[in-house]
Amino acid sequence: MVTPAVAVTRLPRVLHPLAWWLWAAGLATAASVTTQPVLLLLLIAAAAFVVSARRAVTPWSASYGAFLRVAVVVLVVRVALYVLLGDAGGKHVIVRLPQLPLPVGWGVRLGGALTAEGLISAIEDGLRLGAVLVCVGAANALASPARLLKALPGALYEVGVAVSVAVSFAPQAVVAFGRARRARRLRGVDMRGLRALRGLAVPVLEDALERSVDLAAAMDARGFGRRGGVPRRTRLTATGLTVIGLLAICAGTYGLLASGAPAALGIPLMLVGAAVAVVGFAVGNRASGRSRYRPDVWRLAEWGVALCGAAVAAAYVSLAHSDPASLDAMSTPLQVPDLPWPLVVVTLVAALPAWLAPHVPRSAANRRTTVSVARAVEVTP
């Protein structure tokens, strides 16, 4: 039996961006506390599976490929750095590279013995960084940061606008830089020396300044910053509470993740921070004279997706505090590491949003073709 409430959640719709970012943050947290290659690969696979199942066709969702490439580059660089500068730990020497004689006091060496232990730990370390990157890329592909900013509570509205304007500066600067370079070629000037740099920097900066002045005028003309009779004290209270709450959450997260820091400090700090931030948001939302167009809704599916991420993170972090050795791949001495089997099962939870999240609706243009196809199907017996 299907109850109406469930039927509504299952309609194709776009999931709340915060749900996706919480889920991805959970996976990234899990990845950051382990060097177990099997677990890391499982996390990467789970993230990729969800992305392929629930990604909308938007320009920013194409950035997922870019994140994957960066992750591979990080892995390669990490291994290359080890080969060049790695430490001499381990007994299984694979090859002995020519070593540059440097004074011992420097604490650095170039070349020398390349051990299997060192190489494996470099790969595992690179894989860990790569996995974190893939998780961030997954969140980016499933819900653009711009949408996340839009979901910010009213008290943080100004911060969100500032960030989104700043983010839009980069692509515009790239365009302006290209124009300036073309212009230099059209003037027949070779690109060299300090004067060349000046010739490039000045137009780019002038362009950016002009645009920002135009944007500020346009925003003012469209009512940005109207206060609508909200007392200044209320606004300051809302912003203050929100910022303090968020800082407490950050500190709490650090306490949880950094091994050595007491977990007892981390969890209460996070909870208190969250409570303060929520109060701040509530005051801010009531105080701002703004309204919101088609706000993203938070329903059952959002809870499900966010909890999947939280569950994975909680399992990894608690194990990291109770039995850190089981999450380490242990390259010295060289051996095939034991797999913490319960954790493998928990990791599979990370892939559940592929079913929990509703389908992504097609864009308007596509929708029309689907409807006409559906009609054609209906007509043909």
């Binding site: 839009s168 300036a180 070629r185 944007l215 346009a218 003012d220 469209r222 167009y293 308007a364």
Partner: protein, 535 residues
């Protein structure tokens, strides 16, 4: 609705006021057109209406501007946002959100409009401006005409009583401009909005206006009246008006339709005559040759199968809608873009394979925004740098500038010059090396009629001195004035290539106003008609 009461505006550091003692009153539901040369104070007048002057631009405003009972001295632009919708010159620089729907909703969110009302207004505006097909597209992927309509829509959703538009069609090709103007006339007729619009290309709007305000500049008093009254004496006037004034038609025609009704006699008189043709250049070895040219960007074909030769003394206009490949063609000729296949030959070499210093001796390209080429602090320093780069005698570039545009202030910063003067400085800097081929990308963007006439004179002189000129443009009147040949591009292919009078009169989209009035006779400009009647 809008009352200017003894308004004077002086910007900081300026010696004289831009606007002096302006008295103006615009009624509810009027479409008011503001005309005038560049730098005459049109934009200042517009910005006074929603308080951007003086609250945002600085400077001092004396007198009072009152919009629907609200004084702009005491109301900042944001407090007028629900009453006055303002759309600036470049719509893209005012976009805050990243998709069409969010951009339309942004202003309403600031006003705190209820969610259900917002939803309804967004849907209505999408329909009104014909944007429903692109509702969830990112703004940067839209065409220029669509972007302009989104910018208009984004202020319409706030349900303002007044709409202020600063040159809404200057960046658009003729069909896109028609789209925007059709939307605006609908707003006036269906919703009773008051619209104040500044525009250089009068031929596009003057027939829709209820009232015209001519801003002469230099603080001279405004001239206000019905379009016919103001156009009878205004120094800025579209070709039909100039034709009507020359022939003493009364009432003065404002549109092609009105002019055609009065032109029956003129067509009869001109039937037996042929218009004076610009002398076709003597056939000589071509300066530039393109054979089988193809250019792709990723999987987008920008140009395909282009064959083109340009001879010295020719003035070739490249036309076509936005995105047809006009700029790419110029970029290939200037060596900025390397073709995927085909042969490019400019003065005996392929420009993309030469070092920059050798290319500029063969070909000069003035980009859409000439300011890109200028990076010195003063005009004199710019010219001196050009002399050094070109290896010519000091002062040569400045002397050249003197012949192109007399009276440009030596000590001025290039950014502070008018559009026309900036274009002249960029030309002087590039022409110092005497390249045989000159390329211009949209040279009339932002130019008023006077500056456009000067540009036409410069191009004709250059061609007479044996330069070949190729320019990309949407401006059919400039084409009628100067082009000896027209190449029309569509989807990266040449669809027609022939002498200007044949190509331009063959298609209504590219025909200048005089040609439309005198069709089917092949007359293109007012000057040709004047010459024939005088001779």
């Amino acid at each position: 609705m809008i009352v200017f009461d003894h308004v004077s505006v002086t910007y900081p550091d300026a010696t004289a006021p831009v606007l002096r003692d302006v008295e103006l009153s615009i009624d509810d539901g009027e479409l008011c057109l503001v005309v005038g040369g560049t730098g005459s104070g049109k934009s200042t007048l517009l910005k006074c209406i929603n308080g951007l002057v003086p609250h945002f631009t600085g400077g001092t405003l004396s007198g009072r501007v009152v919009v629907d009972g609200r004084d702009t001295q005491s109301h900042r632009p944001r407090e007028l946002a629900d009453l006055v919708g303002y759309v600036g010159q470049d719509p893209t620089s005012g976009f805050v959100a990243d998709t069409v729907e969010d951009e339309l909703a942004y202003g309403m969110e600031s006003l705190g409009v209820e969610a259900a009302t917002m939803r309804r207004r967004v849907e209505e505006t999408l329909d009104l401006l014909g944007l429903s097909d692109v509702r969830d597209r990112p703004l940067l992927t839209l065409s220029a005409g669509q972007q302009q309509r989104v910018a208009i829509g984004s202020v319409l959703t706030m349900h303002p009583r007044v709409l202020v538009l600063d040159e809404p069609t200057s960046a658009l090709d003729p069909p896109a401009a028609e789209e925007v103007l059709a939307a605006l006339t609908r707003l006036v007729h269906d919703l009773g909005l008051t619209i104040v619009i500044a525009e250089h290309r009068l031929e596009r709007v003057v027939q829709y206006a209820d009232r015209v305000v001519h801003v002469p500049g230099h603080g001279v008093a405004l001239q206000v009246g019905t379009p016919r009254e103001v156009m009878a004496s205004s120094p800025v006037a579209p070709p039909v008006v100039r034709l009507g004034r020359r022939l003493g038609w009364s009432p003065l025609p404002l549109s092609v339709r009105e002019a055609r009704a009065e032109a029956a006699g003129l067509r009869e008189r001109l039937r037996e005559r042929t218009p004076a043709r610009r002398p076709q250049p003597p056939s000589a070895a071509p300066v530039a040759t393109l054979r089988g040219l193809a250019v792709t960007y990723g999987d987008v074909v920008a140009l395909a199968g282009i064959d083109l030769t340009v001879a010295p003394g020719e003035v070739v206009a490249v036309m076509g809608r936005n995105g047809a490949g006009k700029s790419t063609l110029l970029n290939v000729l200037s060596g900025l873009t390397r073709p995927d296949s085909g042969r490019v030959d400019v003065a005996g070499a392929a420009p993309a394979q030469l070092p920059a210093a050798d290319v500029v001796r063969r070909v000069a390209l003035v980009p859409q925004n000439p300011a890109d080429l200028l990076w010195a602090e003063t005009v004199r320093a710019e010219c001196a740098a050009a002399d050094r780069e070109a290896g010519v005698a000091p002062g040569a570039s400045y002397a050249l500038l003197g012949t192109l545009a007399p009276g440009v202030d030596e000590e001025a910063h290039p950014r502070d010059l008018s559009e026309g003067q900036r274009l002249a400085v960029a030309l002087a800097v590039l022409l110092a090396r005497r390249p045989p081929l000159l390329l211009l990308d949209e040279p009339t963007r932002g130019l008023d009629y006077a500056a456009k006439d000067r540009l036409a004179g410069i191009v004709r002189d250059l061609a007479a001195n044996g330069h070949a000129v190729v320019f990309a443009t949407h401006d059919v009147e400039l084409v009628a004035e100067v082009a000896t040949r027209v190449v029309v591009l569509a989807d990266g292919e040449i669809v027609s290539d022939g002498s200007a009078d044949v190509v331009v009169t063959a298609s209504p989209a590219f025909a200048p106003q005089v040609a439309k009035v005198l069709a089917p006779l092949p007359w293109l400009t007012v000057a040709q008609v004047e010459e024939a009647l005088a001779g």
